[in-house]
Amino acid sequence: MEKASINPFQLFALMVLFELGSAIVITIGIEAEQDAWISILLALAAGVAVFMVYSYLYKQFPGHSLIDFSQKIIGKYPGWVLGLLYMLYFLYIAMRVLRDFGDLLLTSTMPETPLFVINFFMVMTIIYVLYLGIEVLARTGEFFLLLLLLLGILANMLILFSGIIDVNNLLPVLGNGWKPVFQAAFPLVLNFPFGEIIVFTMLFPYLNQGSKIPKTGILALVFSGLLITITTSMNIAVLGMEIVSRTTFPLLTAVGKIRVADFLERLDAFVVVTLVIGMFFKIAIFTYASILGVTKLFNVNTHRKLVFPLGLILLLGSVAIAGNFSDHLEEGLDVVPYYLHMPFQIYIPFVLLLITIVRKKFSSGDIVGNNDAQSKTQRYQ
């Protein structure tokens, strides 16, 4: 574990960038049709609840990351294996996001560039930044969050001013009843993007004010959730349900429709900037969590030794995991949520929570107390 500390605002920035990362540019909750915004809000509420579980677990073992406290809860060896599984999960999701990113960039702006080249440059950037450490990543996040917010506000204003919003596209509300809304929200939207916040349990120990984790996390979730809701509704309002359900990249199409005063047009570059920056942080955070975990599990003395090898695996994996984009999307919709996201994001943390609560009740807080003392010494080392 590197010696570093980040402040609550930096954690907030990383979380928001992470959440927005891919969710803002692609469609989520579209199974609910024009009620996608309700699905997203429902999933957001559930996501906040799930996040409370993570931060409760961290509160029981302050100063310990996910793989540390899982070893404390279910024993050393089972915990180690679980940690390894989590690391593989994070790395695999990083690969998936990188693949998503490469394909989106390919289809939207650089149709003639090979996927490998695009991913290669992205991975090189990630390797450089992760080599510099979590502090640098967090501060860079802070900087780019402010930039993206400015860009977002500008783009939204322009959409508003160009008068292409048609609110009728969002009606009727709940035209098909609650069922499709719930089906869209659970598990898809809950898992992606909100449940993925579990990756931050690896970063909690770096926060210099540990007590602020629940507040910061919930704030970040709500903030990014609302932004996603607004963007999705805006897309539907501008493009209509028909087009949104057919494009992979609705934000690009929506922003492409901006036309103000006959010269402000073709602002697609805004969306590309958002895509690259958001995806960069999402992939970087997943990869960093994985690197950090492997560093701990195998007692490597510094994470820097692992940045390059794991980066290489990430690059090759991102190209190799699927034969083509539609295979990749199919896996992402039919397999990953049920066999990977649900267990790793929801089931396992809940089981850990149950075990902790039960043990706390029966051992009258003894174990937890010990852990607290240990963790404190570890933090001050």
């Binding site: 500390s5 402040n7 605002f9 930096q10 960039l105 702006t109 650089m110 560039t113 080249v117 695009i118 440059f121 992205m122 090189m124 950037t125 450089y128 930044v129 510099l132 450490g133 502090e135 640098v136 990543l137 501060r139 860079t140 802070e142 900087f143 780019f144 402010l146 010269f263 047009e265 073709r266 697609d268 570059a269 590309v272 900037v273 690259v276 920056i277 960069f280």
Partner: protein, 528 residues
Amino acid sequence: MKKKKTRKTTSRFSLFNRSKNRSADFAEEMSTQIEQAIDSTDGIDSRVQKNIDRLKDIMGNSHDFIVREVIIRTEPFIQAAAMYIDGLADHTLISDFIIKAILEENHPTGDVEPAALLTTIKKQMLTIANVTMEDDWKTIVHSLLSGNTILFVDGIPKAFVGETAGGEWRSIEEPTSEITIRGAKDSFNESLLTNISLIRRRIKSPQVRIDLFQLGTLSRTDTVIFYIDGITDRRIVQEVEQRMKQIKADKITGSSYVEEWIQDQTLTVFPTVFNTERPDIVVNCLMEGRVAILVDGSPFALIVPTDFSQFFKAAEDYYQRFDLSTLIRVLRYFAFSVSLLGPSIYIALITFHQDLIPTTLVISLAAQREGIPFPAFIEALIMEVTFEVLREAGVRMPRAIGQAVSIVGALVIGQAAVQAGIVSAAMVIVVAGTAIASFTTPAYNLAVAARILRFAMMFLAATMGLYGILLGLIIMIAHLTSLKSFGSPYLSPFAPFYPKEHADGLFRFPQWLRRKSEGKTFSQTERG
């Protein structure tokens, strides 16, 4: 692995110890000739003639080493000799307050003890302001070379050292690189004492601290660090002192030498030490809890710690209305981005993203580029390199011929190149706009950073388009956030984000509004 580590730490430790023991260091590194000459003499003789010979020997019979022998009295015979370096010492001071004083004063009569004579000379005869007694040859030689006058008197085995440093300096002139309309019009010159006085005059507080270092084993350059006790963080001062002590150079001929020794990171295009030639800026920085370093012979003061935003603060900002200053500052950041990204964005749009350019514009651009034989990247490279060459020629040429360069440059870069069909008119506009934008950065050394990175960005744009530029930006920002200047994060008011510091960061708030935040000085802010 462990062994290696310990060895490293011990060696560093010993290095530190050695540099602490400065007099030992001095003897070790003095050039051998002087060293032997000084070592062979064992203290100061009571006969004047012998001392003169020794000092002449040490100075190698140098032409500008002047010895003025006087006779204090004849019965008993007491001779004295004043020695100084011509040009370093002030002639008027020497003749009026040392020679004249000795020759004209009423001398004690009868036999006098050496001790009594010494007191008489020091207290009743020498009329110069500052006189010290020295009996160490090294100190004597050093003060002689600093422009002081050495006085030997028969029967006294000590030397009088009168402070007569003077000579010719450039007078205090208007700043040449940081010009203001309403601000103070004085700037530093090459004399350390003058520079110190320029700062002292502006802060009449006994809390101002000045520590002297002599750097360079041969040049023995006086260097001072300035800070304000009670405002500046002690840890920063200690860090500066420690780094200054670790300088192992034989000569320091300018503040940039010191900068290269003490800066945090060498492998970066961004400057991590700020420099200024304006005393008012130094005073502002001292008040913010920074440390200033002044080097004798250099008209530029160094300021540490610094941050990225400081390089965008022009002296003029504090002398104009706050609204104008704020707008101009934002404009500077914008111009900096243009000078960094201008050509690369153009290359990316022309090469990869024609669809992002509005239709009418893309048609006109395509028409312009019709006969151009090069891809946009090569075209931009040709223009940028030509411009760099012209700029360098303009700077290095004697001022009289400079005009010719600018005429040729304007013709070559401008009309002729376009008419010859080598470059497109749009490219000329982009390159010229970039060049003008790069002149708005108040600090030259930061403008240079953008100048270097511009080429890297152009390359990235040519290979990966907008995507390449974005990745380049991410890498640049990450690099900037990883930099530190004396322990404080380089990109600090932006990342880590300190909103309050933007009162004098991205913006410049009115003075009365800033007063609130002034209690929270640079040093007390929590910094990673």
